[in-house]
Amino acid sequence: MADVVAPPYRVIPIIPALIPGSMEGLKPFVANDKINTAIGFPGELVEDWHDKAIAKMGELLSKYRSLKVYMDACVHCGACSDKCHYFIGTQDPKNMPVARQDLMRSVYRRYFTLPGKLFPKLVGARDLTKEVLDEWYSYFHQCSECRRCSVFCPYGIDTAEVTMAAREILDSIGYGQKYSNEIIGKVHRIGNNLGLPGPALRDTLEGLEEDVKDATGVDVRFPMDVKGAEVLLITPSADFFAEPHIDSLIGYAKVFHATGTSWTLSSMASEAGNFGMFIGNYDQLRQIALRIREVALELGVKRIVVGECGHAWRVAYSFWNTLTGVGDGADETDRFAQMLQKQLDHRYKQPMHICEFTWDAIERGALQFDKSKNDKHIITFHDSCNVARGSRMGDFAGGQFEIPRNIIKTVANNFYEMAPETTCEQTFCCGGGGGLLTDDLIDLRVKGALPRMEVLQQVVDEHGVNFMATICAICKAQFTKVLPIYGFDRRLVGGVHQLVSNAIILGDK
């Protein structure tokens, strides 16, 4: 690991020259037989992978309008070509969103369009060879599904959808990625991505109760598996385990305490993350999400709140209602969804982001803060891609940008924005999203962080920023690892509720 170095900042952030093949052959570990079969995929690359892959592609084209339209609509205008952080960091032309899509589009054209069948060279159509398949494996694991390209595409083509389809095809022929598939196995088997069993979780939570008592003198509870609690908190398992994640978990608990909310965690659904989305597999996405439904029904909770996790919030906000019925507005005849929706309290949004919960409490005047407790921090905010471009908070478009910032400004005095072309809907991915947060891709992760590090350096130089707040477990883990390689302190990254935790006045309820 020692040989991983950060690429130099660009003097002027211009579009880099191409270095073809610079990331060629980069290949995260392939899932082994045991990992694959545990989640129902073929153990290894199947004999008839070619025919299976083309058949799967045909199936996906008939099931997903997004894929069908995106395969046809691209005109190669190049609007997206300089928008991907991995392209900027690696200069590999195949990391341009359009070129990444073309890895699949070329095959689509060959097998599913008339011109591609007749004149493959003319329209850039290719046979699906083993080389092409390997190229898919490599470059579809150099996309973090962050959707930045889709903001700029005149047709809204979202490379994330193409990457998901490609990974789904790869998994269906036994050529999946170790990191994501191993984690999916753990979530089914143990209840969370980390593999943290119930007793260990309970021990951790009890330890936290002691810590908070020592630090504040107040008995803040971290309840688990409590039937009849009002709120079920679903949070990434990293919040139980990693630094700085755990500080935000303490923040959530303090908010619940201070607002007098009865809440609980679940040992069975002890994971907000859903890597089913990363591999584009609807069944996995659904099965993982269904655990939350089951637990909600079992515990009889009235509200479901989601902790600081980017892709989990996208799944929760955008997909949970579809997948599990956690939400509102199901048809009267929709018994599956109604069963849960009748139980939930629809005076509140279902599901609700912890930032929405906290901001709502702040607006009601239910929380008091001592802002000076955060004075040692000069803060900026990194918008996480899945929250920014795949979800919303509050009642209006763009609430996902305002609400976390409003919270920060309520609990701290020093806040500065990074360059506007790198925040809100145009935010750059941290470089570790979409199932790439694994050590075997550390080189890619470091390079992919370049655009964010450049603008972070600006606010560090101009304003002395020493804390980059974010609301995503992947962002936190990725930056903790990557910041030192760019010469920053790893503790420069932290959660929004970490700041809330610092400043909140608990009283003696």
């Binding site: 020692a2 991505n193 980390l194 943290l196 990693a242 477990a473 883990a477």
Partner: protein, 111 residues
């Protein structure tokens, strides 16, 4: 499957060099893995490894960094109960690097 060989004994590892069979772990292989991670094991390093193994024995998972720092602090004195101390021993992160040397499975997920 990859393997490593230390003083005539063969150990099965995964692609990343983590032991596959936790029962096979011994001090020889721990020392060997440490050298591949550019760490020379000292008394302080072993204190962490031993705690990790004890914790794993009980909970079937490595402890959270916070649990680890607290336990080390309680056992070995408050000045050692900080993540700085642990990072100084295991620069690539006490979670993963120390687990690897201790023969425990790698913590996965967003960590």
């Amino acid at each position: 499957m990859a393997t490593i060989e230390v003083s005539g004994k063969t150990y099965e590892t995964d692609e990343e060099g983590y032991l596959v069979n936790l029962g096979e772990w011994d001090m020889d292989v721990a020392n060997y893995i440490a050298t591949t991670e550019s760490i020379s094991m000292t008394e302080q390093h072993w204190e962490v490894i031993n705690f990790l193994r004890e914790y794993f024995e009980e909970y079937q998972i490595a402890p959270a960094v916070r649990v680890l720092t607290k336990a080390i602090g309680k056992k070995l004195g408050a000045e050692k109960g900080t993540s700085e101390y642990l990072y100084a021993l295991y620069p690539y992160g006490p979670g993963k690097q120390a687990c690897k040397i201790a023969g425990l499975p790698k913590p996965t997920g967003c960590v």
